[in-house]
Symmetry: C2
Subunit: 728 residues, 2 copies
Amino acid sequence: MEDMSDLSAVLTPSNPILSRLTALSIPHSTYSHPLSETVDELLTNAPLTNPKECHTKNLFFKDKKHGMFLVSVASDTEVNTKELGSLLKLDGKVNLRLADEELLMEKLGVKKGCVGPLCIMNNADKDVTLVLDEKLMGVELVHSHPMRNDASVSLKPEDLMAFVKGYTEPVVLKFGEKVLGGKVPSSRPEGDKGATKPKIEKKEGGGGKGGGGNVNKKQTKKGETQLALKWSKSENFAMWYSDVIVLSEMISYYDISGCYILRPWSYKIWELIQDWFNIQIRKLGVENSYFPMFVSRDRLEKEKDHVEGFAPEVAWVTKSGDGELAAPIAVRPTSETIMYPAFADWIRSHRDLPLKLNQWSNVVRWEFKDPTPFLRTREFLWQEGHTAHASHEDSDVMVMQALDLYRRVYEELLAIPVIPGYKTEKEKFAGGHRTTTVEAYIPVSGRAIQGATSHDLGQNFGKMFDINYQDEKGETQIAWQTSWGLTTRTIGVMVMVHGDDTGLILPPRIAPLQCVIVPIVSKNFPLEKAAPYCEDILKFLEAKDIRCKLDDRSIYNPGWKYAHWEQKGVPIRIEVGPRDLENRQARLVIRFGGEKIDVGVDSLASDVEAKLEEIQNNMFTKAQEFRDDHLVQVTEWKDFVPNLELHNLVLTPWCGGEHTDWEEWVKEKSREESLANRGEGAEDARAATSVAAKTLCIPFKQPELPEGTKCIASGLPATCWVLWGRSY
Amino acid sequence: MEDMSDLSAVLTPSNPILSRLTALSIPHSTYSHPLSETVDELLTNAPLTNPKECHTKNLFFKDKKHGMFLVSVASDTEVNTKELGSLLKLDGKVNLRLADEELLMEKLGVKKGCVGPLCIMNNADKDVTLVLDEKLMGVELVHSHPMRNDASVSLKPEDLMAFVKGYTEPVVLKFGEKVLGGKVPSSRPEGDKGATKPKIEKKEGGGGKGGGGNVNKKQTKKGETQLALKWSKSENFAMWYSDVIVLSEMISYYDISGCYILRPWSYKIWELIQDWFNIQIRKLGVENSYFPMFVSRDRLEKEKDHVEGFAPEVAWVTKSGDGELAAPIAVRPTSETIMYPAFADWIRSHRDLPLKLNQWSNVVRWEFKDPTPFLRTREFLWQEGHTAHASHEDSDVMVMQALDLYRRVYEELLAIPVIPGYKTEKEKFAGGHRTTTVEAYIPVSGRAIQGATSHDLGQNFGKMFDINYQDEKGETQIAWQTSWGLTTRTIGVMVMVHGDDTGLILPPRIAPLQCVIVPIVSKNFPLEKAAPYCEDILKFLEAKDIRCKLDDRSIYNPGWKYAHWEQKGVPIRIEVGPRDLENRQARLVIRFGGEKIDVGVDSLASDVEAKLEEIQNNMFTKAQEFRDDHLVQVTEWKDFVPNLELHNLVLTPWCGGEHTDWEEWVKEKSREESLANRGEGAEDARAATSVAAKTLCIPFKQPELPEGTKCIASGLPATCWVLWGRSY
């Protein structure tokens, strides 16, 4: 079972239930609400105004003789074990008891208070019987937790049924009718193939205390922020990620799948990246502009490869008000086809070149792969640079300048090492000539992620959109173009690389707050006494343009504040107690590593400044060392999959170029071998592609390639080293 | 006729043809292309790849006996007057000649080279016969100029026919068949009611030289920027506006109606407004964030008044790729319904208040009124602030703080005076409690325009979205909310208020470039000699954070550069000639007012800095004086419409409050009286509403209202002064 939970962590960067619902195209809405450990809390926190909708109450029972039962009933249905045993027609001695938290985690992969019928998906051993309240089948929408109790997902009963039937055959029971001597309910097809019959649990459960129900045991009074993460990073990476970004107030879930709310704590990071990036591109002569987000079908479909790459994901507006539009219009998935007809208008002569534009905008790609906040969302924010040049040499310089800015965003701002290189033919941008990329590495999951790409478009779009100009000799030429984009994905990668079990750890250069001053107030050291000294410190820091805040809220105690700002990843906490005031000093507590240092107030601002730089460098160094430890050269196929299993990125000799079939071969072969290693439980649909390795890039920095080296896949002479990995 | 052209200027802030096509819901695409004075240029500049589409060639003939003919033929159809006379069955002496430019302007409202069949719309006297080439009726799309020759609009022949039939009954002829003794073509319904028969022109035409055809007479070699505006501001305000924003490189047209490209020259202005505004709202504790742009139907329709206000303009996404979505989702027209469910999640206790968020985003309102770049567009950029508070007093402070920022954007950045006040019940935000506004005045058109609004939402949304919190006593309360928005409309208002017949005049605080240095190079004063001195000046200016550029391009001469930067509205030009170098000085030429001053290089940067401030103030003062001259108090109805006709804003006593019917009465009555004043020609559909006065606001600053004063409309006792005007 440990294998399975580990596997699930690797496979599903996002919430597995939501991903699965999306993958199956099951209509559902997800929404955030305050943490609700019990049904009563839930009814208060997320009241349903429509009486035809319904929350669930969930109980996880075990019986020594008859096995385990996940019982999901309408929030107002009363369940007693006597009736349950009778309805289930359990024979002989019946002793149904609430199972303990350990068994709950083992069998359904969730923590207390987070159970819902959809969790049956996690029961890889298929040894839990799902019992559904007949009442749920009669409502319009069933609401239940998607493995976390600060969110709910609602779906139609028939869709709920369709979903769970992918994993088990549920038993539907009518509660509250006192059928003590009843029979098996008619809705349960008795001899149905694949039905999970109640059976004897073989494993010994725990002490039996506590239960799987929505029972509040610890923490969180109503209205309080939850301070501790429910999941550790190594325990379940996907759930940890979801926990961190929600609890640190970066993200809130939204009721349209794949769309998320960027709260100020994440949006400010994006603004800091924007500010830096704007300064850099201005130096390169790139100007900001804004193009419409709608594009007509004709334009979108002008470049054949391009439209093939994007068409399946395009969102179409077909109506306004109550009327049909004369022709559907697309919401931009990217803006080549929107911008380039204008380029054709503006560019007449070599004097109009280079033309270098950028825009910051939202784009929409209606993907059906698992949506993950920041990493893969249906609407996302990005910048897209688009340029036109008089020669391929000039456009090539631009491609590399843009890529180097992306490298610097990752390395210098986000403290994440990346590997720059070329994409293979198979992985390049649809409609482009050649794509360059920076590739990052996510520890724990051991996966690679594409950081950002910069495309050499050659003259492909120029030909399609008639971007011609007269050169100095008066001859007509076609312009050479580039496009390049960086998205809010950056933020997600940063969270994944640096965060820990306490929460975020933010690199100082992009931290919305670089330090927070917390006065350690008490009866003997009231705020009135602490405040003037703290405010002085604040002034010193602000004078150095350090993003800083004094947390002088009287409604929270210092301990709460420590935990709060740690979870939000603020690089330095400055504690000010009575003795600090006496000694004209303050205590710096460093989020990354936990170091504590007392510094005198006179040098405090410059000490903090230096410390922030040091933290930034240390964070990068740590990430780089870890990444380097997981970057291996492999020259024989037998070592390939084992290295993937060790969470490594794998550099191999490659026949390259036109041999694109071999790329597919490696993908297939690595998938097969990975699944074979893992055994039957892994043959989940979700696993099908994501254990496969794919090419990340052909790194610019190539190791020596001795004469006669052979491609690891084809055995043909190798022409370069290519980097492989499992990827997001 | 002068009346008519004047009227059209007042009525149609945008391109009248495009507005009319949109108003009639006729499917059409508009696109920009390089200036094309002749058909040959057009075929080069905007080649049609589909052989089933066709540009038009247009000729405007007059004949002393038979009247005037606008002949629109396919670009490759040859027209000779002999054949034309014969096809038209003109009797007696036929002497068809190309009409001169004066007559062209008088009869069709366009300049040379800009003619197209759609211009027939401007023939208010209905004395021009429209002749269409039969060939045009057989193509898929006809392309023609919408009164300007750097753009074309394409539409189906049947739609072209439907459009022109709203104004005249066209004659369709088959050219090139040598029908010297032919008959009236069958497609012309001879006795049709309203058909414009060829008739004798009563007015004497001009000298007859030149013609209405697409003949290039002056300016613009291919590939050169057009420097002079075609229209003056007083001559035709709408066309002047369109000219200015296109030629100054602020806007390019786009092929989806109501969507425009914001080029760097306008987008930078938006960025400067953003920078200033972000600093101000941060001081008020408002944080930036980003919410999804999609909203489900359920959410959008939750607040009844709100959805009624927005539903008719909502764009709906119903498809992704080739598949239908399970339910249509709306593109945000505004984000109340997107944000407030999240507010309900986040707000639990009084400690969570106030909550103050802002976002910069694009929104979509699919309007069918005339789209106008910046002023009324289907997609536009804006900021929207949304806050929640524990009391109405607190939310009211926020409403006023936001409104005052809007006042400052207009007055301090854009140098445009505004009148702050309350909207009447009839004009307030859909679903809100009370709306405040700042109202600006556009000289020349004499119209008011809503600058920006800040809404007191009361508890309406709070109740709908369950935004409850526990107060200090533990009791449940509903939050008080505000929302407030400022759009890219600001830029259009600024262009309209300050621009002149040379082009833009930009207030220094939002000018992308505040000054440009132009070396007056010549044989004796080559760039090598001028450059070091100019670069020094550049450095001095940059050291003072003045946005500045050295235009050292050798491909353009100084005269061209003067005109170029004047058209783009750069506040100060710094000329550097050989004598300036000798005397260690430079010449400042001020765009606003044209003043020229020689200043020594040592004080140059601070002189420029002071001058920029002075220009900013002078621009505001001029605009304010002009506005004040057009702001009158009126207490009797008889003076109301005459003052509108004088381009005045009118302040009147008002019974206010619940008497909303009287507001409608004034609208109707002012429309009727205005049209009556203008005579028959004005009864154009476009005129129907836009000569009516509407309430702009109840100004905060109220004149004294003597006891017993009566409402100008109802005669009931007046409770306040209200401001009226014709409006955009």
